[in-house]
């Protein structure tokens, strides 16, 4: 499929940003200490478009870590559907693809959907780092989760519109009138370890007692860093908090992690995944088996955050490699 792009000069990006920020709360990559984060920005001068992976993925805005979903009192439960209009300005393809994969799970979730329907996503090309493995996870090509994608080309960007919202933007005057045709938009690079997703998917339940689980679980601290920074770990817990009067308060949806000891515990105390090995393996069986069974793609986009932020230096690629080989 040929994609038609329109050129925007670097100096015109500010005009694009200003236009977007008039209508949306803009979330963009900014520098924070030595790291980069996705944060609300008001001025284009704060935005860093040439950035490595951010600490937290976009899910922190789509599925906030502690989100009120109902207000309750004696009369019952009142929906707290968000109405904020968020624009991501400059998401890498891994993160944009992650949103596309979250859509598959949460399209009928009223809170996620309300944000998503009002959302604008502008993607931007990236420079893969040594922890990236989006190619193996089939998340290195352009997705229509992006309304608009900006491909860096010399001192310009080529803008590809994937949706009606995107088409409106590229019709603005700060995009050059002529079009550029390309066959596809894909991030190509040499991965440190190239993984065979199909083999992993097949082997993960077949080879359930592979020694890799023992080996890796011994190193794992169950700190949940990997699931927190993962753009596709979406497990949640639901908790009620009351105000001064009992029976009045808020019901929250909070991030949870299947690495936590309490995750598969039932009333009465039985725990179906008491061993860390079982919990650790569960992260993988969900990402590379359950999710593929359900949706045809893994719930991993190879962003590498789990590798960067693991205090025990566990590299998910190596685990998958031992499991499935090349």
């Amino acid at each position: 499929m040929t994609l038609m792009g329109k050129i925007i000069k670097k100096e015109n990006l500010k005009r694009l940003f200003d236009d977007v920020s008039r209508e949306f709360k803009v979330i963009a990559p900014v520098k924070k200490g030595e790291d980069y984060v996705l944060s609300e920005v008001e001025s284009f001068s704060d935005v860093v478009l040439d950035y490595p992976t951010t600490i937290l993925p976009p899910k922190k805005f789509l599925l906030p870590y502690k989100e009120p979903i109902f207000a309750f009192d004696a009369e019952g439960f009142k929906d707290l559907i968000p109405d904020e209009k968020i624009a991501f300005f400059g998401l890498h393809l891994c993160d944009a693809n992650a949103i596309g994969r979250l859509d598959l799970v949460f399209w009928n979730d009223p809170y996620y959907r309300a944000r998503r329907d009002r959302m604008l996503i502008i993607g931007i090309s990236c420079k893969p780092t040594e922890t990236c493995f989006c190619k193996s996870m089939k998340a290195n090509s352009l997705t229509n989760a992006c309304d608009l994608f900006l491909l860096a080309k010399d001192d310009k960007y080529i803008g590809f519109s994937m949706t009606e919202k995107g088409r409106k933007i590229v019709s603005q005057l700060y995009f050059e009138p002529e079009t550029v045709n390309v066959e596809e938009v894909k991030i190509e690079y040499e991965e440190k370890l190239s993984l065979n997703l199909y083999k992993v998917e097949r082997k993960i339940l077949e080879d359930y007692n592979n020694p890799v689980w023992d080996e890796t679980a011994k190193k794992c601290l169950a700190c949940t860093n990997c699931t927190v920074v993962c753009p596709l770990c979406y497990c949640f817990d639901v908790v009620d908090e009351t105000f001064i009067f009992p029976g009045e308060g808020l019901r929250f949806r909070c991030w949870d992690s299947c690495l936590l000891l309490s995750f598969a515990r039932v009333a009465g105390g039985h725990n179906f995944r008491r061993d860390l090995k079982a919990r650790y393996r569960n992260v993988y069986t969900h990402k590379f088996k359950t999710y593929i069974d359900e949706f045809g793609v893994p719930s991993c986009v190879g962003c590498g955050r789990c590798i960067i932020f693991c205090p025990a230096n566990i590299d998910m690629r190596e685990v998958l490699f031992k499991l499935g080989g090349v």
Binding site: F70, P110, F236, V238, D240, F272, A278
Partner: protein, 273 residues
């Protein structure tokens, strides 16, 4: 857009004490269609939400019964409530017992402890439609005589099906003797007391996690194929709609694919029982 997490208000019509830690709550519902084996998410505002199986039979209309043991925050709070109070529920969720596929067959129910709650829904529904079924057997085990649920239905069950009951210990939870004269031993000891073949029967099991593999062994010994065995599995389904992941068993969700599973489908599924 419909809010899939939003519970509706339901009045508690009646509360019946079953044991020292278990009560049955009758909740008012309207146009509420469900099958035995399905569950609801029950909310007490400020305390939280918990998945509870339905213990009444679909032929009873206008209400559902929930048989609840006091074990966590929500169930403890529920135990403090009385007729006339309100709770909030949503559901029903999950796949129940396969009523149509087991029609015409003999059925052997094996219940352990609070596992009696969902099985009772299926049992009473089957007994209500008894002409559609063959011989019905109920094997029921509890820890002590004080833990036996639905004692007021024992006579009816004994009349309408082959009902055998056992307790792990005749001693009451406080250590006193109960004077129990019936069977003593785990529920699987009741299989030896069946003087007829259950090879062609359907087996339906619900109980504590440790019970399943021993009951399955008994069914297999009797010559029952795995595909004739149905298990109702327990997990903490937090959302009920296949999202929160708490009830995930590898590539199955208890809230969507279960809680009732055909054993042949999950026997190779690690962590299932």
């Amino acid at each position: 857009m419909e809010n899939i997490y939003k519970p509706f208000k339901s009045k508690i019509l009646k509360v019946v004490d079953q044991t020292y830690d278990t009560k049955v709550f009758r909740l008012e519902v309207k146009n509420f269609k469900y099958m035995p084996g399905q569950f609801v998410e029950l909310s007490i505002p400020g305390v939280g939400e918990a998945p509870i199986s339905i213990t009444s039979s679909p032929h009873e209309e206008g209400y559902i019964d929930l048989c609840v043991r006091r074990v966590g925050n929500v169930t403890n709070a529920l135990h403090r409530m009385k007729a006339g109070d309100h709770v909030w529920i949503r559901g029903p969720y999950g796949v129940g017992f396969p009523f149509e596929t087991i029609k015409g067959k003999d059925i052997v129910y094996v219940a352990g402890g609070i596992g009696m709650a969902p099985l009772r829904s299926s049992l009473n529904y089957v007994l209500h439609n008894k002409k559609d079924f063959g011989k019905i057997t109920l094997l029921y085990g509890a820890r002590t005589p004080a833990d036996l649920l639905y004692k007021d239905e024992f006579d009816r069950w004994a009349n309408e099906c082959n009902f055998l009951v056992t307790v792990d210990s005749e001693k009451l939870p406080d250590g006193r003797s109960s004077g129990w004269k019936g069977n003593i031993g785990v529920v699987t000891t009741l299989f030896a007391k069946l003087n007829y073949s259950i090879k062609d029967s359907i087996g339906i099991v619900c109980g504590p996690p440790a019970m399943y593999k021993f009951v399955i062994q008994e069914f297999r010994k009797a010559g029952m194929p795995d595909s004739s065995i149905y298990l109702s599995l327990e997990r903490h389904m937090k959302c009920g709609v296949g999202k929160c992941q708490h009830c995930q068993i590898n590539n199955r969700y208890v809230c969507i694919d279960g809680p009732v599973f055909n054993y042949a489908d999950i026997k190779n599924l690690p962590e299932s029982i």
